[in-house]
Symmetry: none
Subunit: 252 residues, 2 copies
């Protein structure tokens, strides 16, 4: 497609920061490289790789990147998906089918709107391994699901093709000048804290009648509440709600 | 991306006929195969190949097609771009840059509208060789130009990725491509009810210290909680949480 020499791709100065692309347990280095190329085509440079099967760095990835060397060189390696997502505010999980109907499901055209308001640079898009896709636990972490509608008779999409469709729709949305993202979302530690306030008081009030089931029930409650996107104000309000209902003004 | 066996991809019965994909002087068999895969992902089956460098059939193409065998088997071979386009009514030429400003230039999102009215099956989309692109004479044949806007610092797009972006936008424009909406979300009356349970108990516990502000605060709490997408199970869990914290097993 190109006539010019682009042996080392670059990003224009002051280009808007896009979402992180998080490849979870990718198998083939070649696919990682092709993802890097597709990313840089779309102005995305932040690649995170969770537990790649064949280790890292990977010569096949560098070769397949075809000039998107900066993406490969800047890639960050993680042991777990949780680690790779820890500092992000909004997570999108890419799945072949809708596996969690309680989450918002978007298609690639809906991606820019889903990311807007969170600040794209604080968002991450998860892509699972080539054949098996993401675990249910990884999908549970996500704020919404990216589903790419394709021919139902042949919906097996190459990993880099999935990354391209997500990246291209993000890139295409940039023309419509987007205001700089301002997010007043509460940081993860404050959210963890208010959830602990709730589960502590529930425990004190006798909510968990079966000790065996308590850990699982606590996770369910956190899953339920994590679907709200908490602002600082929401966190404060919720502390007040719990304190009022439990009749205890002080906690901890 | 796929969990199911799709070793031989198919097209659903009565699927709308899409435009022909015309690869002009493609070099690598692997790229031809990846184009075939991307095509079938998007419900496109008519591949035309003009003077492939390494001849035809090509084992590397079959291997890279990863199950899109029907596209490879049905591919038609031509000696010239004119021959490949001879029976078509409307030709789109894909270029990296706008090289002929006298023609209408569209991006992938504009493709479905450009094809409509001509009958997609009577349209062809030309893609040039990997490095050099189409000749000016080939571009001159076209009725319009497809330009894929990308990072100007790295706009070299893999051939199959260009085919995917064109194909995906065509596919997405079909009604059949809309994702099924399925939901087990709780009905609105149940959500209203659980919110009332919460605000009733908050009122009983003295949460609303200022009567004047109570209506507004109730609305804020409902806004906060409405950002969760409640399932029936969530509603039941939350009734239990409120009852436990308030120490009152019965409500209403």
């Amino acid at each position: 497609m190109a006539g010019t020499d682009q042996s080392r791709g670059v990003l224009p100065e002051n280009f808007p920061k896009g979402p992180k692309i998080i490849l979870v347990r990718p198998q083939l280095g070649e696919n990682i490289g092709m993802c890097a190329r597709a990313m840089l085509n779309c102005g995305l440079t932040d690649l995170r790789i969770v537990a790649p099967r064949d280790g890292w760095p990977n010569d096949a990835a560098i070769s397949a990147a075809s000039g998107a060397v900066m993406v490969i060189e800047n890639a960050k390696l993680y042991n777990s998906t949780e680690d790779a997502a820890a500092d992000l505010n909004f997570i999108v999980a890419t799945t072949a089918r809708d596996r969690d109907l309680t989450k918002n499901v978007i298609d690639p055209a809906g991606l820019p709107a889903a990311l807007s308001g969170h600040g794209a640079a604080h968002c991450g898009i998860l892509f699972g391994p080539e054949r098996t896709g993401l675990h249910n636990g990884e999908i549970a972490m996500a704020d919404c699901i990216l589903n790419i509608p394709l021919n139902p008779g042949f919906s097996s999409l190459n990993l880099a093709q999935a990354v391209l469709l997500a990246g291209y729709h993000w890139f295409s949305s940039l023309d419509a000048a987007q205001p700089e993202s301002q997010t007043d979302l509460a940081s993860k530690d404050k959210i963890v804290n208010v959830m602990k306030h709730l589960t502590d008081e529930l425990e004190a009030s006798g909510f968990f009648t079966s000790p065996d089931k308590m850990p699982g029930m606590k996770i369910n409650i956190r899953n339920l509440l994590s679907r709200m996107q908490w602002t600082e104000q929401d966190v404060n309000t919720f502390h007040g709600i719990i304190a009022s209902l439990s009749g205890k003004k002080a906690w901890k």
